[in-house]
Structures are given as structure tokens and as C-alpha cells.
Amino acid sequence: MEGKFIIASGPVIIEEGKLLVDKDNKDDFYKLPGGTIREGTEDLEEACHRKVKEEINGEIEIIRPLHPKILWENPTTKEKMAIILISYLAKLKNKEEIKPVPPTQEIKWLDLKEIDKWKHSVSPYTQFLIEKGDIK
């Protein structure tokens, strides 16, 4: 198919019953770390490692892939395009060193025991992973 597309990759990090999310200055919801793969030069796992480093100074070990999702329009602009979202369950190797790296403004650990309270204030893809049982 022809047209605009984005491939994004990022980690799902769960520690001590809490999910790591971050927030930048573009969206008003918390989202998983991660972002767009570098076209032509990077694979999905490399992008996952790079983005978590860029956003929160995190270093991770990838454990296994989680459910992918394809969006057929940009949820913000409604532009027709393919957005392929890939995520991996991952372990954070440097918890003490993570920090928001601009434009990331905030890092938060969401308690999975209170998932019903916050599941509507996270990104649609995070909600999808909750529905699939990948975040629990």
C-alpha cells in the first residue's frame, strides 16, 4: 500500500506492581516510553532501546514482544495513515538513573492495583495492552 506511515517501538516496564509511563509537552495523557523507528537504519528492538534512553535515560533488557497494534489514522490529526505500534515487555537495568529528558516532562509509576482508576488517562495503545492482558 502507498501512503504515509509510522512505525513506533517501545518498552513496557513493570516493577513491583507498577507501570512506568511518561508525559511530554504534546499530549495530555501518560504514555509508554518509545517512539518512531529510524527508517532504513534501525530494527524494532534497537529503536526500543534508543527511545527509552532518549526519553528517560533508561537502559533496558527486552524480555518478549507484546501485542502489536495498527492504527489507520492519526488519533490526534485524523490524517489517514498507517501507524504500527510495537512494544516489548522489558526490564529496567538502571532504575536509580532514570530522569525525564526534554521534551519528556514527567515520569510516573502507575500502581497496577489501581488500574481501573487510571486506565482512561493513558494512551489508547496502553489501554489496548491492558485489554489484551499484557499489562496487569
Binding site: E2, F5, L66, A82
Partner: protein, 90 residues
Amino acid sequence: MARIAIRSDAVVLKDGKILLEDGRLIGNWIKVGEDAEEVCRETATKMGMDIELIKPLHPTVRWGTNEKGEKCTVVNLSYLAKLKGEEDGG
């Protein structure tokens, strides 16, 4: 205009063997608006099989050019699956 092809496949394992149809996994190329998991299930149904997807497997992305020399990106999504009513896929 950028070109992308997205394929969704089910990896069905049984008795230490992998199920292939004409040398390919059970799946198809995804068209605009389609859901990756649904494509797997529908393809299997058309082949007379009823499958249950168990878990996602490692996705891949490949960068290249097609026969016209156009840049083309190929994404493969795949799922471990089992034939319904049978043991887990392995």
C-alpha cells in the same frame, strides 16, 4: 509516495512440526483498515481451519526497494497459534 506492506501470520505448531500452506505460514498481507489478528483468523477460516491466537511473536521490519526501484518497507507481525480443540501450539 512511501510504500509499506504489512503481513500478519499465525505460527501453528503441532507434534514438533510447523503448519505451512504452499510453503508459507497461515496469514496474509494486511489491507488498509484491517486488523492483524483478524487477518490471521480469517485466512485460516478460508483454509478450513479454526485457530486460536495464543501470543504475539517477535515482529520484524525490513527496508528495501521493490522491482520498480521504489523504497519499500515490509513489516511482519506473527502470532503463536493453535488449532482450536487441540493442545497449545508449543
